[in-house]
Amino acid sequence: MADVMRATGATARAADALLRGVGGRTVLLRMPAPAGAGDVAEQLGLETPQFQDVELAPVVFRRARANATEGKAARREVLVSATAVEALVGSLGYSAAAVLFATAFGVLVDGVLMTVESVTDSEVFGKPYLYHLWLREPVAETV
């Protein structure tokens, strides 16, 4: 049974079904374009990278802390399908999900850009089936 679950990715599909079942939605991962090799202008801040927004779905989005202290940004947790992350890692040419999220500039949720503070994953048999992204809201958006 364990071999079947490992080989077929049943846990990842089960996680996807659960995320969709509890109202999974779409957010956008804002990625900077790769740096230009030997591009001194970018190193000197004379040029800024282009950004592209790529879809991340299904995800479930929740507030990690109910009340933010005044002047402190609220944190939110996003549960992301590992299937979606793996597809992105492959299509964008990154070596691993950790590299993808480390490179990301933020997550765009309903027009609000949130910073990725940390990423963890849940895995079974050494294969992730769910990623947890901890996001920080801009202070101006915190209520």
Partner: protein
């Protein structure tokens, strides 16, 4: 002042790359010499160990001379966790190696460089940098205390960078 900051970074980057070509950093998929200016990178960029990070933290302008003399403080922060293969037990040695590299790079003669204007590199034109009429010059590095942050050793060294403000210069 911006030209002086740019010139100092490019000069130091060249010296660090010559001293230790193996000291590199990967920034958005591109490998380059292990030195960056924090204010020129994305705010989301993660702090990386075993590289030099430049921060411009202070500036003074002396108006007494024929040309205003700008003195800027450049903090150079660096840290190391040691090699994971060695269980991090070599972190002290690696920090000492970075101390030595930085001291050599900053202190090697001449401690000056022709001030360059890199503004032409922006945009599609990609014009070559222009040599200006004055030099920048800098002090030796002053090393701060070692800060132990968990398994990581960190240090900040400070260099004073001087340049004359030419007419019409930012």
């Amino acid at each position: 002042m911006q030209n002086a900051k740019d010139t100092f970074y490019i000069a130091l980057q060249g010296r660090v790359a010559a001293l230790n070509p193996a000291r590199t950093i990967a920034v958005r998929g591109v490998t380059r010499p292990g030195l960056l200016v924090e204010e020129n990178e994305l705010a989301s960029a993660k702090e990386q160990a075993d590289v030099f990070r430049l921060r411009w933290t202070g500036a003074r302008l002396d108006m007494q001379g024929t040309l205003p003399l700008a003195a800027m403080t450049c903090e150079i922060a660096y840290a190391t966790d040691g090699n994971s293969g060695n269980g991090g037990m070599d972190r002290g040695r690696l920090l000492a190696a970075m101390d030595a590299e930085l001291a050599s790079a900053v202190g090697a003669a001449p401690q000056n460089a022709v001030k360059m204007n890199y503004a032409g590199l922006a945009g599609e034109s990609g014009a070559a940098p222009i040599a200006m009429g004055t030099n920048i010059f800098w002090s030796d590095a002053v090393f701060g205390k070692t800060v132990v942050n968990g398994e990581r050793l960190e240090r900040v060294a400070t260099v004073e960078v001087f340049s004359y403000q030419e007419v019409g210069e930012l």
